[in-house]
């Protein structure tokens, strides 16, 4: 059974600082997903990582995948308040999709 672990679970950042969220998974994952969820809202797809070494960037967010280490990272560059949300990673193995517990990010001025 695929297990997905994120850390940290809570992250309080100052604006303009950089930080990384880590996502470890237990078995082979066909692909890795990152989602954003604002309070009371649904999940918004950020990135889909398909292969080892994949890197995708959108604005201040950059996601990468290391399938050998079974690790994905979401790097935040020069954080701004608008990035405050909960970020989930999810792995997929044989059509079974499993989510991490989420990282609640708060960006403070």
């Amino acid at each position: 059974e695929l297990k997905v672990e994120q850390n940290p679970l809570f992250l309080s950042m100052q604006e303009e600082k950089n930080y990384t969220i880590y996502c470890n998974y237990s078995t082979t994952s066909d692909r890795l997903y990152w989602y954003r969820q604002d309070p009371g809202k649904s999940l918004e797809s950020l990135f889909v990582l398909l292969s080892n070494g994949a890197v995708k960037q959108e604005g201040r967010l950059m996601a990468s995948l290391d399938t050998k280490a079974r690790l994905s990272t979401l790097h935040i560059t020069a954080a701004v308040h608008d990035l405050s949300a909960t970020y989930f990673c999810a792995g997929k193995h044989n059509n079974d999709m499993r989510f991490g517990a989420g990282t609640r990010l708060t960006v403070k001025p």
């Binding site: 997905v4 066909d30 692909r31 997903y33 989602y35 809202k41 649904s42 999940l43 918004e44 797809s45 889909v48 989930f88 999810a90 997929k92 059509n95 079974d96 999709m97 499993r98 989510f99 991490g100 517990a101 989420g102």
Partner: protein
């Protein structure tokens, strides 16, 4: 392109009452998922459909939960009878086979009193 539509958005019921949720996926998406999300946790899959076939319902508590997807489009998820522990957000998502990416609806927040 319209997103995944769910209704109702909020539902408050007393325990032992029945409740039903409805989901309309994105047009052209053949896969449909129902998830349960507890506060502070990630979504947990309840059931996955490929067209009208439930291909993974291993996590669905079948003693009280049921789902259907007639004609391979809209889907309903039912709980009967509801228990206090069923209070959560029920999310519906849709996608296309093979691509894996899922698009989520706004969810239904269920409160069981």
């Amino acid at each position: 392109e319209a997103g995944v539509v769910q209704s109702p958005r909020y539902k408050i019921i007393e325990k032992k009452q029945p409740v039903a949720f409805w989901c309309n996926p994105i047009s052209g998406h053949n896969t449909l998922y129902w998830y349960l999300q507890n506060l502070g946790q990630g979504p947990e899959l309840l059931i996955r459909y490929e067209n009208e076939e439930a291909v993974d319902d291993s996590q669905l508590p079948k003693d009280r939960f049921s789902a259907e997807r007639l004609k391979g489009v809209d889907s309903t998820l039912k709980i009967q009878p509801a228990e206090l522990g069923d209070s959560a957000v029920y999310l519906c998502a849709s996608g296309r086979t093979g691509l894996g990416e899922q698009f989520f609806g706004p969810g239904t927040r269920l409160t069981v009193l």
